[in-house]
């Protein structure tokens, strides 16, 4: 297992990589969307660093989870907020940890309920093993190897901290 680095350094590096992607879009302005809750915190940081003109969007994917009937949902689900049109938009989707890929699957489904984006690019603060779906991030902050019974969790919003926890 490699320990997570300093978060600020990771975020700076991610912003740099994303800037390259954004520059390729030319005059098309991308929109950034964070996934509740940790993904929104990461997205806020990246959004600030990239100085994107469109406001930041947020997705709460609770209603789109495929395990809803098994585990139920959080009592309070935040409404998703996408303060821009999705159609033909280049979207930067941001999450804190990319693990099984199921959260991203749910987020993609929800995004498509709002419209047909031109492209979606995935950025993840942490990428770990354990993918169950063919989903990969274009921009990764750091790859972390964890044992199956370990979990990495982002706490925040200020300061942002990464913690590795043993699953009970």
């Amino acid at each position: 297992m490699n320990a997570p680095e300093n978060i600020t350094a990771i975020l700076d590096r991610m912003a740099e990589q994303l800037a390259t992607h954004v520059s390729k879009l030319g005059d098309k302005i991308p929109a950034m969307v964070g996934i509740h809750t940790g993904g929104v915190w990461v997205a806020e940081e990246l959004h600030r660093r990239l100085q994107l003109s469109e406001p930041l969007g947020s997705l709460d994917i609770s209603f789109y989870r495929d395990d809803f009937t098994r585990i139920g949902m959080n009592p309070v689900v935040q409404p998703s907020q996408l303060p821009f049109a999705i159609d033909d938009r280049h979207i930067i989707l941001v999450d804190d940890v990319l693990h099984t890929g199921r959260t991203i699957r749910a987020a993609l489904n929800e995004l498509f309920d709002y419209g047909r984006p031109a492209s979606i690019l995935l950025a993840a603060l942490i990428e770990r093993d354990g993918r169950e779906l063919p989903i990969e991030a274009a921009v990764v902050g750091q790859h972390v190897s964890l044992k199956p019974d370990e979990h990495i969790k982002l706490t925040g919003p200020s300061p942002l901290r990464l913690e590795i926890q043993q699953t009970a």
């Binding site: 209603f63 139920g72 689900v77 935040q78 309920d113």
Partner: protein, 324 residues
């Protein structure tokens, strides 16, 4: 089997939603919180979520009610469930035998949930006891007994307007308490949330015996009953009450119990006025009140969808969990 056992599974999750009585304050609060989440959904541009995709929900209405059925239908559709509306008048199923036959037939079509309205008190309980274990039953009104989703949407509306502390609220329910399943459910729910004072206001012909034991103070005079009230809930008056010698006339009822701006002056300055609809204008209240700034009648309708989405998804949730 008691109602609480019937409604709640071994893990404390909602199994059926039949009546407020038998539920814990914690569960009521969970329903309200979940409804709050869905209210967010219904306010966004995409109002539909895929939670109950592939599930089949049957609106089984033995008593006609376009309004209630529509809100249940909309709630189910916003959860992406398939919805089947079946309207059966009392005359076609007067015996339990045929009612059971109807249920068995629908069960054979692999239905996941029944939303039931019936003119007999206890019908939802009977159906919940009779259906296959994987099916959930939501009570959309049974006789004079219970109409728990209506009560929950009223409570939801009060909480949104007045905040979560019910302890400081005086709530007056005005009208035909005797025949009202809505009032019974509201009184239960308000007491469960430790409401400061629950009052019922009506002539004696429209108040059932031992009504105070439901947890309400009884008033026969409107002005006294709504004095300093923070919330006033007006109940719908059925026109047939005049035939049953329960009231002399709509005119006299309006004189004594109809809500007007002038009578409303004795209530708390920020009083909220509610009505489960549809309103008989000039009978329960005049238009000035119904359309006035204190009325949240249309909000109630909007909230009805979120509350029903919450109850449906919560009842549906436990099933696969129960088998694991």
């Amino acid at each position: 089997m008691s109602a609480s056992n019937l409604q709640i599974d071994s893990k404390g999750h909602l199994r059926h939603f039949l009546s407020i009585s038998g539920l814990s304050r914690q569960l009521i609060t969970e329903i309200l919180d979940t409804a709050e989440s869905f209210a967010g959904v219904t306010e966004q541009t995409v109002k539909k979520v895929p939670l109950l995709r592939g599930k089949t929900i049957v609106n089984l209405f033995f008593e006609a009610s376009t309004r209630t059925r529509t809100t249940f239908e909309l709630a189910a559709k916003r959860l992406s469930a398939d919805v089947l509306n079946i309207n059966l008048t009392q005359s076609s199923t007067t015996k339990g035998e045929t009612l059971l036959d109807t249920l068995r037939n629908l069960e054979a079509m692999h239905v996941d949930m029944f939303v039931v309205r019936h003119a007999d008190s206890g019908a939802a309980h009977f159906i919940a006891r009779s259906v296959a274990p994987h099916i959930s039953v939501i009570n959309a009104g049974d006789g004079r007994h219970s109409h728990p989703t209506q009560a929950m949407l009223d409570i939801f509306t009060i909480r949104r307007v007045k905040g979560p502390d019910f302890g400081r609220l005086r709530v007056a329910i005005v009208g035909d308490i005797l025949h009202s399943r809505v009032a019974r459910s509201q009184i239960h729910a308000l007491n469960l949330l430790n409401t400061g004072e629950v009052r019922i206001v009506a002539p004696r012909t429209l108040i059932p015996t031992h009504a105070e034991e439901l947890g309400a103070h009884i008033y026969h005079d409107l002005r006294t009953g709504i004095k300093d009230a923070d919330v006033i809930i007006m109940l719908r008056l059925q026109r047939e009450r005049m035939q049953g010698a329960l009231l002399p006339s709509e005119h006299e009822y309006y004189e004594l119990f109809g809500l007007t701006e002038e009578k409303l002056a004795v209530a708390a300055p920020d009083v909220t006025v509610m009505h489960p609809g549809p309103i008989n204008r000039g009978v329960e209240m005049d238009s000035e009140v119904a359309d006035g700034p204190r009325s949240v009648i249309l909000e109630q309708v909007t909230h009805g969808i979120a509350v029903r989405m919450a109850v449906m998804s919560m009842a549906m949730r436990r099933k696969e969990g129960a088998t694991q």
